[in-house]
């Protein structure tokens, strides 16, 4: 294994996904004529997906030569990328579960599954006021009992009569707030007001 590959797998163990991606990009940039192995590129694509960078995962695949694109691990990850691109979460979970991942891949796969579920849950909370339990379970790709437990953890109520979840009446404002909070907000307002006054003067 080359130094680059050793560093990449070390970053995978530490969970530094952005460093994995950066290491592979730098290697491709400086040693364009000495490509790494298919396993390394598959790890790179998965690292991009965990960081939420679907575009970079696509471009990494498209940069590879045809022989590297046919690598078993790269092909498996490409199926996941395609499913995420088409927003087909069940297909993405199936692709993750189906392939026999080994070694460093296991950490990445577990992290990616958690990441996809987290994003899907955030989306469901943003979109739905009420949603049937069966559909939530299908979108999150977890069993019904787990979905009910998950919904309780985010204060969603389970209505047994309609077998659906209802969002809480009052949403936590910090979830939607994107601006600065507290004393930082006061500082920001004062700085910006001074600046605008100077401009006007």
């Amino acid at each position: 294994m080359s130094d680059m590959e050793i560093r990449v797998f070390k970053y995978v163990e530490l969970g530094s996904w952005d460093k994995v991606a950066r290491e592979i990009e730098e290697h491709d940039s400086m040693h364009y004529d000495k490509p790494a192995t298919g396993a390394v590129y598959a790890v790179g694509m998965l690292a991009y997906l965990v960081c939420g960078d679907l575009n970079s995962a696509r471009f990494l695949y498209k940069r590879l030569s045809q022989s590297l694109q046919r690598d078993v691990d790269v092909t498996a990850v490409w199926k996941i990328v395609k499913a995420l691109w088409n927003e087909e979460m069940p297909a993405a979970h199936e692709a993750l579960a189906k392939h026999p991942w080994a070694g460093s891949f296991t950490t990445l796969v577990v992290a990616l599954q958690a990441e996809i579920r987290e994003k899907t849950l955030t989306l469901l909370r943003a979109v739905y006021i009420t949603i049937p339990v069966s559909e939530a379970a299908q979108m999150l790709c977890i069993p019904r009992e787990e979905v009910i437990e998950l919904a309780k953890s985010v204060n969603w109520t389970h209505d047994a009569a309609t077998d659906s979840f209802t969002e809480p009446l009052t949403r936590d404002p910090s979830e939607t707030a994107k601006g600065p909070q507290g004393i930082e907000a006061v500082n920001t307002v004062v700085r910006n007001a001074l600046f605008l006054e100077q401009l006007a003067a």
């Binding site: 990009e25 400086m30 970079s56 940069r63 943003a126 979109v127 739905y128 659906s164 994107k178 605008l196």
Partner: protein
């Protein structure tokens, strides 16, 4: 050859770069034309850090000869790595651009764009004084990044705002500016950041020019499609600082795109109409390599319809919305999910009552945007203040201001007369 070498060394030591240029130009046919291998011999005998200007002139003339690609590329890479930038800036900056262009062409011909990326970046970092300077290497670098599909690396360069364009120092020409922003627009299209892509392409359209160019025309076509994807409409007029010669004729040469944008303006245009138009002009869009973008524009038309519904209704049955979008209910829901994920709308769905509720976005979401814009405005104000100060301290401005004052003008002209009489 020995004589040429000695003359080069002498001219460089004297700082006589005018003679150096002339000498190398005159010897091109004799030395480089008949014996291209002499280029390597000549360069080997000239230390790069001391004779950078000579290297630059030799490499720019050698590229017109029969030099081999691999050899030339190796020589240019050594040049970029070890050059003394102060011997290029303002001395042979125009030749530097020629060397970079030829190197990029060779990277493309040998199908090795990845090879050129780190070397061009090195060259950019050496030749520019500040990260806000535009150089002739900028468009070449972004072009190779596009070919190699290393969009993130191109983005790192594109994120830096260009504030200084100094043709005499860096050899940059209007075509470099056009190409840089055109390729930059393509990078952001690849990254699906259509807002930034529109900004880059608009800057390309506004680059100084005395006539419509092929680059401007292609940039305009992509600009139309990116505007349609991002906002659902095409801006009525190009910016005021866009060259008038471009504004007058550009729409005439892109009538298909104007007609396509016109369909988006119509209130009752449907997805079928747009798809029919696309099909009818498929070959044209494919020839311009804009077919994918045009298809994305058709999909983004849905957001206009949803936007119109949002403006009127606070809540609507999902089935009614599906009727308006002329899609099945399940597909409408999926489409809404995508729009909400991409922050196009803040609609919410109640599956129990099968209603879609349209809500205003939370105030906090505007706060972040306002703060970001204010920060940008602060940085821009600081830059303008600094530039204003630089101009006020410049010799030309001081002389101009002094000449406005009649007393000062008379004083200076009397000083000149005294000097002439002493001579």
């Amino acid at each position: 050859m020995d004589v040429l070498l000695q003359n080069i060394q002498l001219s460089t030591k004297k700082g006589d770069y005018g003679s150096l240029r002339k000498m190398i130009d005159e010897s091109t046919e004799d030395v480089f034309g008949k014996h291209p291998e002499y280029v390597g011999v000549l360069l080997e005998n000239l230390e790069l850090d001391k004779y950078t200007a000579a290297w630059c002139h030799i490499l720019s003339r050698a590229c017109g000869g029969k030099v081999k690609s691999q050899t030339y590329m190796d020589q240019v890479e050594v040049f970029f790595a070890g050059m003394a930038a102060d011997q290029v800036r303002g001395v042979c900056a125009d030749r530097f651009g020629i060397v970079s262009k030829k190197y990029t062409e060779m990277c493309r011909e040998t199908k090795s764009p990845g090879r050129g990326i780190p070397h061009l970046l090195h060259g950019i970092q050496k030749i520019r004084k500040t990260p806000a300077d535009l150089t002739p290497l900028h468009p070449d670098y972004v072009c190779l990044c596009l070919l190699q599909k290393q969009y993130n690396q191109a983005k790192d360069l594109l994120e830096r705002t260009i504030l200084n364009v100094e043709p005499k120092q860096t050899g940059v020409l209007p075509v470099h500016m056009m190409l840089y922003y055109y390729y930059g627009g393509m990078v952001y299209i690849g990254l699906k950041d259509f807002k930034r892509a529109t900004e880059m392409l608009e800057t390309c359209l506004c680059a100084p020019s005395s006539c419509l160019t092929a680059i401007t025309l292609e940039a305009f076509k992509k600009y139309v499609l990116c505007s349609l994807i991002e906002t659902g409409k095409m801006p009525l007029n190009l910016p005021k600082h866009c060259p008038s010669q471009v504004v007058k004729v550009i729409r005439r040469y892109s009538q298909v795109y104007m007609d396509f944008a016109g369909l988006f303006k119509k209130k009752d245009s449907t997805q079928e109409e747009l798809n029919e138009f696309l099909e009818a002009h498929k070959e044209g869009f494919k020839a311009d390599k804009n077919y994918g973008l045009a298809k994305q524009a058709v999909v983004s038309h849905l957001r206009i319809v949803v936007g119109r519904v949002e403006a009127v209704f606070s809540a609507l049955p999902l089935a009614e919305l599906a009727k308006k979008l002329k899609m099945p209910v399940a597909e409408t829901e999926k489409c809404l999910l995508t729009m909400i994920r991409n922050n196009v709308t803040t609609a919410r769905i109640d599956r129990t009552t099968q209603m879609v509720h349209f809500t205003a976005p939370p105030l906090a979401s505007y706060t972040r945007e306002i703060i970001d814009e204010l920060e940008k405005l602060k940085r821009l104000t600081e830059t303008i203040k600094q530039e204003n100060h630089n101009v006020k301290c410049s010799k030309e401005y001081i002389i101009k201001e002094m000449n406005k004052d009649p007393a000062m003008k008379e004083y200076f002209s009397s000083q000149k007369t005294k000097k002439v009489s002493r001579l």
